[in-house]
């Protein structure tokens, strides 16, 4: 393991553009690698020179104060930042050692491999069935109705939604409760068969009970998928993730085992955030 340790963490943070992340940002056999990555919105830099690996079948959570660039960083991983005109990404980002920003890569295919779940549940104003079938249809994943039905059922079953909606697949998805909608959005994402799932505060619009179901779902999905989740709740990070990355003002301050980050943070800023002095 490549460990980027350093003697005086605070001093390093103060020098713009030149700092080192404490903890273990890099791994041996990663699913995705991010190197020297910076993101700019027009002139304003939102992410500073981040190095991070995301492991196979791990759940990594990103925490940090509002506006520190967690969402921006997450959107780099499936090039959702491309949809923002003024956004510019620099650096080297790889999925299975393939440069995802190279000219050769097909963004559409990339996003099928790296799915995304958003903060606010955003089901399409279509039926429940059509929502789940959407990705499969555009990517031509199934050859006939029977296969499509199967895929829809399998995805809904995996998200624990099947029993709740199997009698009302043709009803509009917008009629589901918030928690059901969010699980539907996850089902919609996994129906495409992604390898990595990005989740941007997937529970922040949900009540505690719905949050618990979604967290349980994330836990189950981690057996088969690599998951990067942004969260505002430290308890949630602690419950669902193996590693935790702490961002501060666009810089990746610390990456460590989740248990370590919450019990024995290495960096002073992380500690201040964990103990509630920042944020």
């Amino acid at each position: 393991m490549n460990t980027a340790q350093k003697t005086n963490p605070e001093a390093a943070v103060e020098i713009p553009g030149k700092y080192q992340t404490v903890g273990h940002p890099l791994l041996d056999d990663p699913k995705m690698t991010v190197r020297s990555t910076s993101v700019f919105y027009a002139e304003k830099q939102a992410i500073f020179d981040v190095d991070l690996d995301i492991g196979k079948n791990e759940v990594i959570s990103m925490i940090g104060p509002s506006g520190c660039g967690k969402s921006t960083f997450l959107r780099c991983l499936n090039r959702m930042n491309d949809t923002i005109d003024i956004c510019r990404v620099e650096g080297d980002l790889r999925l299975d050692d393939e440069d995802i920003y190279s000219k050769k890569i097909d963004v559409v295919e990339l996003r099928a491999r790296v799915g995304m779940v958003f903060q606010k549940p955003n089901p399409f104003p279509k039926s429940i069935y059509e929502n789940v079938a959407y990705g499969a249809r555009i990517h031509g994943l199934t050859d006939n109705k029977v296969q499509l039905d199967e895929l829809v059922e399998k995805s809904l079953v995996r998200c624990g939604l099947w029993n709740e909606v199997k009698d009302r697949l043709e009803e509009p998805a917008t009629g589901l409760s918030g928690g059901q909608q969010q699980r539907l959005c996850i089902a919609r994402a996994i129906a495409v068969g992604p390898e990595v799932i990005l989740m941007d505060e997937p529970c922040s619009a949900l009540d505690p009970i719905a949050t618990a179901t979604v967290e349980e779902l994330i836990h189950e999905l981690s057996e088969n998928f690599t998951i990067a989740i942004v969260t505002h709740s430290m308890q949630q990070a602690a419950r669902v993730s193996q590693r935790t990355a702490y961002f501060h003002l666009g810089k990746l301050i610390e990456v460590n085992e989740t248990s370590q980050v919450f019990t024995n943070p290495e960096h002073k800023l992380t500690e201040e955030y964990i103990t509630g002095r920042i944020g």
Binding site: N78, M80, T83, D85, V108, E109, L110, R111, A112, G115, M116, V117, F118, K120, N122, P123, F124, P125, K126, Y134, G135, I138, H139, T174, C185, R188, A189, V192
Partner: protein
């Protein structure tokens, strides 16, 4: 004193009352320790006093002008000879207007008979009294109102509420004027139409397929019995509107999609206002564009196609005939005119589709056009339909272009190369020129107007409903 100068006096009085009110409120404020101890600011007291002066003053003028005429008339009537009083209303009206004329200095009493002498004198003296007393009474009321207003300026009285209430009432009155005017127009059209349907049976009108509203004016005229079948007009209207929508919907929709989904902010800021300029071109300009440019060129190409067809023995082409006024020309130009309706309304609804849906679709690996076709368009569809219906009702009610480019011939045809006519055009032709106001021909215009009104109203109601339903979906 004329009404105009009286209104000027009222205005001056109001302004004076304002300053008096302002001064008075400051005067009231002084002994109790300044303006901040008043319940409202001096400007509110001033407004209150000026309104106290203005409203009664205006009311006097208004009621005087309304009741002046009838009251004088009934007084004059009292001194008319008994046989005149028993005349039928039209002749009685004639006599009265002769009397008025004489008082105004037109004609002389000898022409209508000396028995009207007392009436003339009565009218003369009454009008003198009336015109002398109206300004006097108005000014008295104005001054009284002003004084009462000044008396009402006390530290405790909150003039803000009074001003607020009067403001409220004024707004209410203005909006009711709009509503009552509309209601009045509808009722008058309705009653005139009912008179029309006394002369022409309702079903002949609605289901008749022949329109030629010429009516014999003299008994010896032949061949002009008049027939009022509205079907050819409806067909013409629908044909032209259909052509217009055929042009406007695809172009408007696609430019809306381009503007909201693809165009950069810079392009959008230039193109969107430019498109909206189209809506500001006066329809008469479109009209002569249609009549002088589009229609002749259609005819030109039609003739060229016919000659080519004749030379090459293509029978159907050789028989082609394009009239110099055609539904096609009017429809094309009208289509261009309503593009901005479609594009700007569609642009609004497409923009109202939440960004989160786009992100959701992109996040699943959809391309931009897939996202537009499968998510954005279906989500925006009800709103787009609403916009198209509004554009359609605009097209159906449009007059100028069709008057100039589509012709007057009431052909029942679906051939866009022939001249057709529309409901609006016929209303215009029925009413221009000297007309008797109770012939079936003129009354037919009201029936057509009613018909048109019902159609466009229905379209608008449906459109608004659809749009509203769509709005609720994302709230």
């Amino acid at each position: 004193m004329s009404i105009t100068s009286l209104l000027l006096v009222i205005l001056l009085g109001t302004v004076a009352a304002y300053f008096l009110g302002d001064a008075r409120s400051r005067q009231v404020a002084k002994p109790i320790g300044g303006v901040r101890h008043l319940a409202a600011l001096p400007s509110y007291y001033a407004s209150m006093v000026s309104l106290w002066a203005l409203i009664p003053g205006l009311a006097v003028v208004l009621f005087w002008s309304i009741f002046d005429g009838p009251i004088i008339e009934s007084l004059v009537r009292g001194v008319l000879p008994i046989e005149t009083k028993n005349l039928p209303p039209e002749q009685f009206g004639l006599v009265m207007s002769q009397i008025h004329n004489i008082v105004a200095g037109v004609g002389s009493i000898e022409q209508i008979g000396l028995e009207y002498q007392p009436a003339v004198q009565r009218l003369q003296s009454l009008e003198k009294v009336s015109s002398a007393w109206m300004p006097i009474l108005t000014i008295i009321v104005l001054v009284l109102g002003c004084l009462m207003g000044l008396a009402a300026v006390t530290a405790k009285r909150n003039a803000r509420y009074s001003v607020e209430r009067i403001f409220n009432i004024t707004l209410f009155v203005c909006s009711s004027i709009a509503i009552f005017t509309t209601l009045g127009i509808i009722l008058s059209v309705l009653f005139e139409s009912l008179r029309f349907f006394e002369k022409v049976p309702f079903f002949d009108f609605v289901f008749g397929t022949h329109w030629s509203p010429q009516i014999a004016i003299r008994a010896d005229q032949t061949g002009a019995s008049g027939s009022f079948g509205v079907i050819p007009l409806i067909a013409g209207t629908l044909l032209i509107s259909f052509i217009a929508l055929l042009i406007a919907v695809p172009i408007g929709l696609m430019s809306a999609i381009y503007l909201s989904e693809y165009a950069s902010t810079r392009v959008r800021n230039i193109v969107k206002p430019a498109l909206e300029v189209l809506a500001g071109v006066p329809t008469v300009v479109y009209g002569f564009f249609a009549a002088l440019t589009v229609a002749p060129s259609i005819r030109h190409w039609g003739d060229a196609a016919r000659d080519w067809g004749a030379a090459n023995d293509i029978a159907w082409l050789a028989g082609l005939s394009v009239s110099s006024e055609s539904a096609l020309a009017a429809g094309i130009v009208m289509g261009i005119m309503i593009i901005p309706f479609v594009s700007s309304l569609s642009d609004d609804v497409i923009n109202a589709v939440p960004q989160s849906l786009r992100n959701g679709s992109f996040g699943l690996g959809a391309t931009q056009s897939e996202t537009i076709r499968k998510v954005i368009f279906p989500a925006a569809l009800p709103g787009i339909v609403g916009g198209v219906l509004l554009a359609a009702s605009r097209a159906i009610g449009e007059t100028m272009i069709v008057v100039m480019a589509a012709g007057l011939a009431a052909n029942l045809t679906i051939n866009p190369l022939e001249a057709v006519t529309t409901v609006t055009v016929q209303i215009v032709t029925l009413l221009v020129g000297d007309q008797e106001f109770d012939s079936a021909k003129t009354l037919a215009a009201f029936a057509l107007g009613l018909f048109l009104f019902v159609i466009t109203l229905a379209l608008n109601v449906i459109a608004l409903r659809v749009v509203k339903k769509y709005r609720e979906q994302y709230d």
